[in-house]
Symmetry: C2
Subunit: 261 residues, 2 copies
């Protein structure tokens, strides 16, 4: 590893990736902190292309390079604290920022999905919720995660952070229209289970023999009529107390806990 | 309701409640947005003492006052957008801020705890996690929630927001030392269950007949030896995928889901 200095132009290019339109156009995104770098190096998606490190954090990078030989071939740049602050999306920069390529594993059509459990998220708008959901999906090995249109950008820095590295382990398929989902479900024999805030069956009623896709809706509006119409079953986490609602990421966690119990 | 204007001095006093030391000294805290105001009006803890509303949001306040007669006796103040911004702790103020008194319901000693399930949180430091945990506790009716020393302040605006109003429905007991917990557990016949990131039994092994207190630890360090030493059982959410860890609020949700399943 022979770290170089970062030019003003490159600094500006990196900084532009704070915006979705530039992440989309360049097919790149940022992940911050040594924990995420380590996860990226162990992950199967989204290879690390470049590493930007503050001088004081260089020794830590070198230790990591001993564990991950892959890191030794990644170009690295040494930054002043001020430079790092500029490219960082965190209030308190974590000493290292990595530039990653959005890249899925071997391309598969949805018709080759073979996972027994899928999650489909409709207009999930909060980056923290999406990241937490990906983290839970990674824990339970539920991959791919299907995103409908108008979800938060999974490569938003807040999602990447909240995923705690899961973004590098879980396959994400974006912009799956309800029509495509319906076709997939009928062709591949998935039962469609809708999560609703009240009136559904308890999650233990979900059939565990076959393939299922669990639908989760927008934080305020829940699932649309169109998606509810696809479901053969509706489930609700039973309430015992006075709480008014459950966060969507928590609901997903409880459902996944139940189906893998 | 005859809203008044807010003096500079009062504005400064309210603003000071952004800081923990002032919340502690004054025994007051802030809750923002109409959703939280409604929850506060329905809650059994922490009465609303005053309401600060932006002029454009006045009609909405008046509609709410028709539903909750209690609100009609609460002094209200009309603020300019700039004034509201000053007392608000949100990046995007929600039109209304309420001043609440930290006040538990009828005082009970810990020795009168009668809940079959208690949560004890050790040094839980992230306000979002604490708020989410309170929200889950409200959903499952697990009250009181016991906080050990050095937890995030439950009256921190981020906790209040993440609790989605649960702060007004769930009793919180702060600064419970491990010694006090041990004494409570032995006197009241609670089994102590420690949540550990690996190596524990699956949660379905938790005995559901008796009384149990579930311990959850700090986000990075987990539970201390001292608390682990109190536990007669250790549980872990079984992992199936490659995920490295689970968020503490998610773990708590899955455990509560399991014990009330």
């Amino acid at each position: 590893m022979k770290p170089e200095n970062l030019s003003k132009n490159r600094e500006r290019d990196i900084r532009r990736l704070h915006q979705k339109k530039n992440r989309d156009r360049e097919n790149l995104f940022l992940a911050e902190g040594f924990h995420l770098l380590e996860e990226a190096l162990q992950g199967i998606f989204h290879p690390v292309l470049e590493v930007f490190v503050e001088e004081t954090a260089l020794p830590r990078l070198e230790i990591l390079a001993k564990r991950f030989s892959r890191l030794r071939t990644v170009p690295s740049y040494v930054l002043s604290p001020r430079q790092l602050e500029k490219i960082s999306t965190e209030e308190t920069p974590q000493g290292v920022v990595c530039l990653c390529e959005k890249k899925r594993g071997p391309e598969k059509g949805l018709n080759e999905a073979s996972a027994p459990w899928l999650l489909y998220l409709e207009e999930l708008s909060d980056p923290g919720n999406l990241g937490t959901l990906l983290r839970t999906a990674a824990w339970f090995g539920t991959s791919p995660v299907l995103l409908g249109p108008h979800c938060a950008d999974p490569f938003n820095p807040k999602v990447v952070r909240a995923s705690a590295g899961a973004i590098f382990h879980v396959e994400i398929r974006e912009e799956i229209e309800p029509d495509v989902l319906r076709e997939l479900a009928s062709r591949e024999g998935y039962a469609v289970v809708a999560t609703v805030p009240k009136g559904g069956l308890p999650p233990k009623a979900i059939g565990k023999g076959g393939r299922n896709v669990i639908l989760l809706g927008n934080e305020s509006r829940g699932l649309s009529k169109e998606l509810l119409g696809l479901a053969s079953q509706r489930v609700t986490i039973p309430r015992r107390g006075r709480g008014e609602s459950l966060n969507v990421a928590l609901s997903a966690a409880m459902l996944l806990y139940e189906v893998f119990r």
